[in-house]
Every structure is written in structure tokens, then in C-alpha cells.
Symmetry: C2
Subunit: 362 residues, 2 copies
DNA sequence: CTGTTAGCGCGTTCAA
DNA sequence: TTGAACGCGCTAACAG
């Protein structure tokens, strides 16, 4: 069922008036009347303001409690000028990258008493404008724009928005906007360093769709790290690359055939790494003994289900969401938030596919 | 960067007053003044109401446009009594089952001009109460409670909430509440019928964590279907079951060893099905020729990446979210929504792991 | 310490 | 066709 019925008030003055009204919320005036004080006194009493007698306060509170009074945030917002809401605008709600960011942001915002209004434009610019309009009319205090599948810069929503805006994951194309994103290049760099540190010297990269910046950045990072260490990154022509396991298997096989002696793979995603594991298994190559493998994303459901479990670069997306929220808070409290792209650190999570920790089961 | 600066208005009367105020939104009064009409006229003009001259209307609109007027939803809500918002309360935002439901609901609600306020209680009852309080104070028009990982009934939020509430995925324990969920039993039933229809007569079930209703319901459905067809479902003792691939491999191996002649597996999840595929592959059993395999969830990233691609039961979660939203709309428009659990249909998505469609690649 | 008054920004009577 | 006045629920400024 839906709407409930009246509450258990009664007693006191306005019995007749309230009794059986077709569903009205209990208002401050009701409380004040029932407590025999004025609205402003009731208001103060309920909010620990100075200037209210202790006895009055408790009486008002009891009455409010009994009546089931819920102060209307709407009314409060009208005078306060702030709504205590932050919009989160995304284009790919179903994508798995958006979720952790969203979760992190919601968590941080909620802890700061801000509610999240969620909008999914599903990649449609028209819908995006519509949602933006709605959000502005709702007088949100801040806005987080969460990029979808790709990390490429996205069009700015404009500089003249009357509120703090933070772009997360996919930065804004306008350098004057505030953007936060995961540092893919650093990820590649750390991955290569990790493999180097465990003695691998013949490290190959399995890229994803080469039109993705993320795939290229990760390769760049690895390449740079190895160059600094005196090594070199082995790559395959990636013109046909994609994010499918099918491609992962193909690329792995090709690399193994053409470049004998490979002792480690960096895959641009966990799915690709998993594909690599499958191929290595088929070829009776031991992981990590013969070949170490690591992926990107640290996607729990994948990395803990492969055999052996998969070392992976964690992009810290939840933390990214939290960080985006913190930028909003900063702006809201008057701080000057520096414009531009703020690249956030990532980290390598080591598992059995590069360093054996315990008995390999199965 | 954050708050922008003034807009390009100027001209007309109140130049001094507005000029450089510390960031005030353009209000209806501003528009009215600038257009030389009264507030009420401006209001009507902007909303196609009768009783406004055509020329007046266009003039007001031009002015509003130029001033960048955005009617405050907050103010409107105060008198309207409705806020045009729906709360979505979940306990497992990061879980992959919540997302499609959330996406479906957001889509349907957004199309109906309702905004979504998202709250994640992360399984904490205290936090849930707090969020609920906030939502009620924000005067949401409706509430959707989206269950997390498990499908078991959850505690009701109470019968006396002054708004329509719909529980999705995990129903409310109170039969007086409105609940919608995927029909797991039907899923098991359809799965078994599908396999039977392609000639399989020795069908085994790989369950997940046996403490999950979902795992048991699916088995029940399959068992019932086979019983009706004159068959019997082969199961393994599931006391040790879980949702990991590790368990999936174990269970598959055990079933194959103990029950020779199995020609089909129904796994309680796609991950488990994937594990089964791995074992079958290791044993050089052909899929689907020797053994057909199907999973549950129809999780895109998994089912399209296995070899062969995986037949799976789609729980229609996005549609479930949409349906939950529709229940809210119904209640909001005064319809009587029947209380109780409303089980929604699921469907089998056939792929190569049960019926070969095209050349097996790789 | 308490009560009265005046908005917040909009929509909606009801007169003019 | 237009405008003045009121109210939505609450808070903040002032009086008492």
C-alpha cells in the first residue's frame, strides 16, 4: 500500500482542524500550537538555539516527537539559499567504472550531510542539457560530472555555472574547469617497475582498443619506466586491439610466437589479463614461474577468480569519487580550488600471478 | 574555479540593486521588473497560461532568456506540495545487481520528470534510518528500496510512511508492503526446459552459496520443470557451496566424476558456469556437443567473453527497476497498488554454449 | 526568554 | 488582459 493515515496526536486546541485532514504533513505551526508557544520559539527549541528555556525546549520536543514532526527541508532551503544537494551527472550509469566513483562520492557527500541527485544522460547531449537544467532549477549546491567508459576529455558544461563543478574520471576539455582522474600513465609505470623488481626483463604489453587514451597512456608509462631502467617494452601492433578476451587471447598468442623469451605480460585490463592466463595455461606455461601476468582495474570479481589470482593496478576509483566530493566541499567552504586536471595516484595490488604468496590451490 | 560571475543583464530600472550582488539567482521578480510587468503576469507568460497577451508573453520570455532566469524548483515545491523527487535507498551500491535496477529506475523516473535522490546505507541499519529521515524531510514523493546482494526478504521500513514505497529485488518482509523481484524459480524452470528441449536428459545443477534463497529457488524451479517432463535434476551436496569460480570448478569436477553421462549443466551464476566451462575444456569435453552449459544473470562481460559464449538466464533487472518506478507512478496518480510480492518474468538468452549458432571461432 | 513580523520565490486566487 | 495580495513552512530580525 502507499500513503498512510493520520498520526496519533489529538489533545490540545486544534483537534477539530487537524483531526482527519486528507494527508497533511505536521508543520511547525502545529507543533507550536500544540505546545502553546510561537513558531519561532518552537523552531529555536528544536534546534538548540540560545534563547529558550530548558523546560520549554523539552516540552516542545516532546510534542514534536508525539506529533511525528518532520521539519520540511524544502521550506528551510528556501530561506537558507542552500539545498544541501549535489548533482551527479553521468553518461554511463551501467558501466562498471562509474559505479565505484559514484559510491565513493555518495559516501563522502552523505557523511557531509549532502544528498545526491543522480542523473544519467546515457551519452545523449540533449538529455544532458535537460538534466543540467533540472539540476540548476533544483538549486543543487555542487555538481560532479562522472565520465563514462572513456577517459578522453569531454566537452565542458560551460564556465558560467553558478556553482562548483568537478569533472571526474573523464576530465573537461576546458582547462579552466576542475577535473580529477586516475593516473593511467603512473599505472603503467608502476606495473613495469613491479615486474622489473621481481626480475622480469622481457616484458610485453597487451593493449586494449588503441583508440582509448587509457590503453595508450598505460603503455607509455610502462615504456618510460623500462627505458629508465635500461629495458624495453615489447608490444604488438595494436591496430586491431579491443577490450575483448578474444583479442586478449589473440594478442597473447601472437606475442608468444613472435617474441620468444617473454617472461611477463602487462595487460591493459583484467579481462585481457585473464585471456592471457588462459592462453598460457593452454600452452602449459606456468604462472608466475615462467611468465608473470598483471592486469588493470583490480576488478574484484575477476582478479580473485582467476588461477592464479591476478596482480592488478587499482585505479582507486572509489577514492577518486571521494576526492571529487572533497573538491566540492572545499569550493563550498570558500576555498579556491585550482582549475585543471588533477591526476590521482593508483597502486599495484600484488597477487599470485606475479609473486606467489601461498600454496597454489586447485 | 567555481561560482561564476554576473550575467549580461543591465538596462532597465534596478541597475544599482542588482549590478554586483554577491551571487544571487535571477528571480521571477527580476524578470517581471525588467519586462515591466507584474510577477504574476510574468509567471503566466512563462508557462503558457491563458490570460496573457501574445506580445507580453514574448517580451517576458525574451527578458527571462536574456537574464538567464531559472525558476526555482525549491520555491515551486513549497506551494505545490510535491517535490518531483523519488528516493532510492540501497544497501549495496557497489554490488552489480543494484546497478541495472538503479539505471532502469532512474531512466523511467527521469522520463516522468522525477529526479532521483540516491542513498546508500551500506548495510548499516543506523545509516538506513538516517537516510530515510533525510529523505522524508526532503519530502520525496516516493521511495524505492533496492535490495543488495541477497534476495531474502528484508525488514520493512514500516507501514506508516506518508508516501508510496516499493521494495525491489529483495522484497519487504511485510506482506502489506509493495515488493517487486525477479522470479528465480521461473528462471530455473525455463533453464531446465530449454535444455530438455535441445535433447538433454541428464541435467546437473551447480549451486552457489546454499544459504542464498536465489540459489535454492533456481534449483527448485529446475527440479519442478524436470519432474513435470519426466526427468530428474542431478545435484551435488551443496553444503560447501559458494559463488566463487573455485567452487564452480570443484562442483563441476565432482559431478562429472560421480555422475557419468551428464550432458548439461545449469549453474546458479555466470561465474559458476564459466568455471564449469574451464573444467570441461580441461577435460577435453566439447561444449555444447558433449555437454551444454548455461548460467544465470546474463552478465554481459562474462557471457560474451567465454568460449563458447554462454547461454544464460537474464533476470531483467533493468526492467525490474523500470517496473518499480512504474509502481511509484501508479501510486502517485492515485491508483491502488496491490501489496505483496510481484514476481517479474525472466528469460533465457540462448548462445553457443547450449545451441551452436555459428562457426566456433578462436 | 519569548512572541511578532517579515521575508525566501513562486503560483494562484480574486479584483480591477 | 493585468496586478495586488496571500500562502506554502521555516528562519532570522526585531520587539516586548
Amino acid at each position: 500500500m502507499l500513503s498512510s493515515d493520520a498520526d496519533g496526536l489529538s489533545s490540545r486546541g486544534a483537534a477539530v482542524e487537524i483531526a482527519d485532514r486528507p494527508r497533511r504533513e505536521v508543520t511547525l505551526a502545529d507543533v507550536a500550537r500544540a505546545a502553546g508557544v510561537s513558531k519561532s520559539t518552537a523552531s529555536k527549541a528544536l534546534r538548540d538555539k540560545y534563547g529558550v528555556g530548558a523546560d520549554t525546549r523539552t516540552r516542545v520536543r516532546e510534542v514534536a516527537e508525539k506529533l511525528g514532526f518532520r521539519p520540511s527541508a524544502v521550506a528551510r532551503q528556501l530561506t537558507a539559499g542552500r539545498t544541501g544537494t549535489v548533482g551527479i551527472l553521468t553518461n554511463d550509469l551501467e558501466g562498471r567504472f562509474v559505479i565505484p566513483i559514484l559510491a565513493g562520492a555518495e559516501d563522502a557527500l552523505g557523511a557531509g550531510e549532502l544528498s545526491v541527485i543522480l542523473c544519467d544522460a546515457r551519452g545523449d547531449a540533449i538529455r544532458e542539457r535537460r538534466h543540467l537544467r533540472t539540476l540548476l532549477e533544483r538549486r543543487i549546491d555542487g555538481l560532479i560530472v562522472v565520465g563514462g567508459a572513456r577517459t578522453e576529455p569531454r566537452p565542458s558544461l560551460g564556465r558560467d555555472l553558478p556553482l562548483p563543478v568537478v569533472y571526474a574520471y573523464a576530465p573537461s576539455a576546458d582547462p579552466e574547469d576542475v577535473s580529477v582522474a586516475a593516473d593511467d600513465r603512473l599505472g603503467g609505470l608502476l606495473a613495469a617497475e613491479h615486474l622489473w623488481s621481481i626480475g622480469r626483463r622481457s616484458i610485453a604489453y597487451i593493449g586494449g582498443d588503441p583508440t582509448y587514451d587509457a590503453s595508450r597512456e598505460r603503455a607509455e608509462g610502462a615504456r618510460a619506466a623500462l627505458a629508465a631502467l635500461g629495458g624495453e617494452l615489447i608490444t604488438a601492433p595494436m591496430s586491431a586491439g579491443s577490450w575483448t578476451e578474444r583479442w586478449g587471447r589473440l594478442a597473447t598468442a601472437r606475442l608468444l610466437d613472435e617474441q620468444p623469451g617473454i617472461d611477463a605480460f602487462i595487460a591493459a585490463s583484467d579481462m585481457l589479463a585473464r585471456a592471457a592466463l588462459d592462453v598460457l595455461r593452454d600452452r602449459r606455461l606456468r604462472v608466475p614461474d615462467d611468465v608473470a601476468v598483471m592486469g588493470f582495474d583490480n576488478w574484484p570479481i575477476i582478479v580473485t577468480n582467476t588461477r592464479p589470482e591476478l596482480t592488478s593496478v587499482d585505479l582507486g576509483l572509489q577514492e577518486l569519487g571521494r576526492y571529487a566530493a572533497s573538491r566540492i566541499f572545499a569550493a563550498l567552504s570558500g576555498e579556491e580550488v585550482a582549475p585543471g586536471l588533477d591526476l590521482r595516484p593508483v597502486r599495484v595490488v600484488v597477487r599470485d600471478s606475479t609473486v606467489r604468496n601461498d600454496v597454489a590451490a586447485d
